[in-house]
């Protein structure tokens, strides 16, 4: 580190002063995410039997995600399917499926543990909210087809506009996220 090196460093900083910043003005512009980015969970469904119908849920309420969760963020309560109107294939489905997003560390171990590929980490990350209770996400907040997070949907309902997510995934959502589409 001779004086020359210091001068060189100073020169670099000075030249960067005149470069265009790379910052994205996030709320106005969409942030660019990679498909592998781990955000809010999505509970996926099997393909629908007939068009227009909803497919069966992939989740069978086995609680393996809860067992794998290092932060104890997941709570599952299973129940038996009504054979006439099953929620999921097989005898068992998740009656309650909750993830406490305040505890979740988005490590993806639940996704690894899931034997049916039901819980997949999506790319959504805009979940900031005001109350603890609103950050415990249930099935109604995570099943595929639900756009945006709870605060975003609340805001959308208030303003009457569709949910606008603040990011884009140029390569499209991961294939595991069946039925999920993100702005590209």
């Amino acid at each position: 580190m001779s004086v020359l090196d210091i001068a060189k460093g100073m020169g670099i900083t000075l030249s960067k002063l005149f470069q265009k910043p790379v910052t994205v003005s996030y709320p106005e512009e969409r942030a660019t995410l990679q498909p592998r980015f781990r955000g809010r969970h999505v509970l996926t469904r099997h393909p629908a039997q007939r068009p227009g119908e909803l497919g069966l849920e992939k989740c069978i309420g086995c609680s393996l995600c809860a067992a794998a969760c290092p932060a104890y963020a997941i709570y599952v309560e299973a129940a038996e399917n009504d054979p006439q109107h099953p929620t999921s294939p097989g005898e068992r489905y998740a009656k309650v499926y909750e993830i406490n997003m305040l505890r979740c560390i988005f490590c993806g171990l639940c996704e690894e543990a899931c034997p049916t590929g039901a819980v997949v980490l999506g790319n959504e990350f805009e979940m900031a909210d005001f109350r603890y209770r609103d950050l415990v996400y249930g099935k109604e907040d995570m099943l595929v087809g639900v756009d945006g997070s709870l605060p975003q949907r609340r805001e959308a309902a208030r303003s009457g506009k569709p949910v606008r997510v603040g990011f884009k995934v140029p390569e499209g959502a991961r294939p595991e996220l069946e039925g999920v589409e993100y702005p590209t």
Binding site: I60, G61, C62, S63, L64, A66, A67, Y75, E77, A78, A79, E80, G90, E91, R92, K95, V96, E98, P115, T116, F130, R131, Y132, R133, D134, V136, G138, R154, A157, R158
Partner: protein
């Protein structure tokens, strides 16, 4: 007898099975069909080992190996099932640890076993506690080489209200079949069809009530499952609490599985001296009352109506209510309360100076019991007098059947109870002539050689002076036996008095019989020993309307047709809003027997510990703390303020050391019982209405988002409404 397992030499008694030799040496062998209390059949073929024995030559000496000078070992040509093979002198055994042949054979067996297994572990309630899962992980190949379709069979249909059967998951170990045949002696389940089409089912239209739940415990896979606990949680999510069942005086060892503060499942625990490994259906499935419709806060009658209150308000209401009653207070508790709770009650009664204290159910006079359950199981003659064991103490019935089967108690090794006791046989022969049942018709009649219909306490006098051929045969059975046991039930004990006790003593003395008088309540024997009965001038439980003010803990006299209120003021301490609680002035929330710490004394006089399962009980308090509140309301310092204090009190007065009990309990010497009139008769009834599970009522414990998270939310200014602009 010296046996060498993987080079480790162990010394074993003759008759030991090879599998026990392996486990005794600290080695492991996978097995599914062998079971400690069932006959070994070698059905699953998983416990393969290589075995070899030395051979004796013509001179009667072992043939020696020239090289080493040691006896030469002749190995059997193929791996052997160790559970059905008896270990012999000098035998050498190789497990998968040292023998590749065994390892390969076991892995191959595992592959076969899994050939038709549906592998639906995520949906299966057994997942996480499944022997097949564990052994497949430890000993299997990890992948199957058979790509064809699996066998399909009936899945998840109810065999009975309590048991769900999934035929696809069955691996044909036959444990359930053998259990019914060997333990309760009921031939209901069997294999149907043959080969790959074999399945388990019954043609009886259901399973017999009584002990069917045990097959859910012993099934090594998820084929037979507890329907009450179905899908309530995964095995790793439960908090397992080993404790003692307080539904009947047997005091079976159980494990309480709770999740999120809800009691979801009860499984049997092992206590070789009490219940071996079996519990009754009431004890296993009748636990729903612990989580349903519980009282969680005190109630106080305001303006003729019970309102929710705080403990402080309840104490204040009791202070008002007890005013003017002075020492005229009655204290009553359920006989399944612990010794510590009884001690607290006795100490408080002494502090108040009242003689009106009582526990229920109990008999006016209980003869001294001298027999233990092991005595029953090894007796050569059993006479059951006026007892309906199915209602009073179901597991005693199993121990009697054990005696009829030969009275073989399984040996114990370094690893615990023997895994395969070769003396046990499939479809065992029984000796009904060793059992005489005198009394009303009950389930035991089917197993008894001598059956006499009789009722009331005069059954004993009739037995002593037989007037019918059957009674004469029963008396002859007693007189001719070496170790006879006389079991007395509610029917004779309800009217018992000192004269009855004397007659019993003379009969038992004459024939050399041990006596087992079944106590009325789970801890009646212990509480009677504390002299927790009305003293001179005191009002018994049945006449609690005779006292000015009463404290009633977990009893429901109103539902029994007894007076439900004291004359002036009534405090009820209960887990549910019972009929009596509905009449009370103050209701304090109580905890069930699953949520207590303490000690109970079972029918044979054994001290058994209770531990507290993590159940959500709101502000429910055990009797010791409730009595402390009563004492506060009465304006006196509670003499016993906690569990430790109660134990000190008991040690000081009776010399009972309850702090550290051995795992299997501690047998207490019999104590002479007290005489105190009850005023009413006790009708044993195991299944209380609240214990009956209603699957449709077993809803989720999870509340809506709002209610669910209210408790742990930070106190905030008025919470913003969803959708509002915060």
């Amino acid at each position: 007898m010296k046996v060498t397992v993987d080079g480790i030499q162990v010394d074993l008694p003759a008759g030991t099975s090879a599998i026990d030799a392996v486990f005794h040496a600290g080695r492991d062998v996978p097995y599914f069909c062998a079971h400690a209390y069932l006959s070994p059949v070698g059905a699953c073929r998983m416990c393969l080992v290589e075995a070899g024995t030395p051979r004796k030559g013509k001179d009667g000496e072992f043939e020696l190996d020239e090289a080493t000078g040691q006896p030469r070992v002749f190995w059997m040509p193929k791996p052997m099932a160790s559970c059905t093979m008896q270990a012999t002198e000098g035998m050498h055994i190789r497990t998968a640890r040292t023998s590749d042949v065994v390892a390969k054979a076991q892995a191959g067996m595992m592959e076969f076993t899994l050939l038709n297994h549906p592998l639906d572990c995520p949906t299966c309630d057994k997942g996480g506690a499944c022997e097949l899962q564990d052994r497949a992980f430890e000993y299997g190949y990890g992948a199957s080489r058979y790509g064809f379709d699996r066998r399909h069979a009936d899945k998840h249909y109810a065999l009975s209200d309590f048991i769900i059967l999934d035929q696809e998951r069955c691996i044909h170990c036959k444990r359930c079949v053998r259990y019914f045949e060997e333990v309760p002696g009921q031939e209901v389940l069997d294999f149907i069809e043959r080969g790959g089409h074999t399945f388990i089912d019954t043609e009886e239209g259901g399973l017999p009530v009584g002990f069917q739940g045990n097959i859910a415990d012993i099934c090594p896979v998820g084929a037979l499952l507890d329907n009450v606990a179905r899908f309530r949680g995964r095995n790793w999510e439960y908090d397992h609490t080993p404790t003692t069942c307080t539904l009947c005086p047997v005091g079976c060892s159980i494990t309480v599985d709770a999740r999120n503060g809800r009691l979801e499942r009860v499984v049997a625990g092992e206590n070789r001296d009490v219940n071996e490994l079996w519990i009754c259906d009431a004890g296993r499935f009748g636990h729903v009352f612990a989580t349903e419709e519980r009282l969680t806060v005190p109630l106080v009658r305001v303006g003729g109506e019970l309102r929710e209150a705080t403990w402080d308000q309840a104490v204040e209401a009791m202070r008002q209510g007890f005013l003017g009653h002075g020492g005229n207070v009655g204290l009553y508790l359920n006989a399944d309360s612990t010794l510590e709770e009884g001690a607290a009650l006795v100490a408080l009664a002494e502090a108040i100076g009242t003689a009106s204290l009582d526990h229920w159910p109990r008999y006016a006079h209980t003869p001294m019991s001298t027999a233990t359950l092991t005595d029953v199981a090894t007796a050569d003659a059993v006479v059951v007098l006026g007892a309906d064991l199915g209602e009073e103490a179901p597991v005693v019935e199993l121990r009697i059947l054990e005696a009829l089967r030969g009275g073989l108690l399984p040996p114990e090794f370094a690893h615990g109870t023997a895994i395969a006791d070769l003396r046990l046989t499939e479809r065992p022969s029984r000796t009904p002539e060793k059992l005489a049942v005198i009394g009303r018709e009950s389930r035991l009649w089917g197993h008894a050689g001598i059956r006499v219909a009789a009722s009331g306490p005069d059954a004993l006098t009739r037995l002593a002076r037989p007037d019918t051929p059957e009674l004469q045969a029963a008396l002859r059975l007693l007189e001719g036996a070496g170790k006879p046991v006389l079991i007395l039930g509610a029917d004779v004990l309800n009217g018992a008095d000192a004269a009855f006790s004397a007659a019993l003593g003379s009969l038992a003395g004459r024939v050399g019989a041990k006596v087992l008088a079944l106590p009325a309540g789970a801890n009646s024997r212990g509480l009677g020993g504390l002299n927790l009965v009305p003293g001179a001038g005191g009002m018994p439980y049945a006449r609690l309307d005779g006292v000015g003010a009463a404290f009633i803990s977990r009893l429901d006299p109103a539902a029994q047709g007894l007076p439900g209120r004291a004359r002036g003021f009534t405090v009820v301490h209960d887990t549910h809003l019972t009929a009596t609680a509905g009449l009370a002035d103050v209701v304090l929330p109580a905890v069930t027997g699953y949520e207590k710490r303490g000690t109970t004394i079972n029918l044979e006089g054994r001290l058994l510990p209770l531990t507290q399962a993590p159940l959500r009980a709101g502000e429910g308090a055990d009797l010791i703390r409730a009595l402390a509140a009563v004492a506060e309301a009465l304006g006196i310092r509670p003499p016993v303020r906690g569990l430790r204090g109660a134990q000190t009190w008991l040690e000081g007065r009776y010399g009972l050391r309850l702090a550290e009990l051995p795992a299997g309990g501690l047998l207490q010497p019999p104590r002479p019982a007290q005489d105190a009139a009850t005023g009413t008769a006790h009708t044993p009834n195991l299944w209380k209405p609240r214990m009956v599970p209603h699957p449709e009522r077993r809803g989720s414990g999870v509340l809506g988002r709002e209610a669910r998270t209210e408790l742990w939310e930070l106190p905030m200014a008025p919470a913003p409404r969803p959708g509002g602009d915060d």
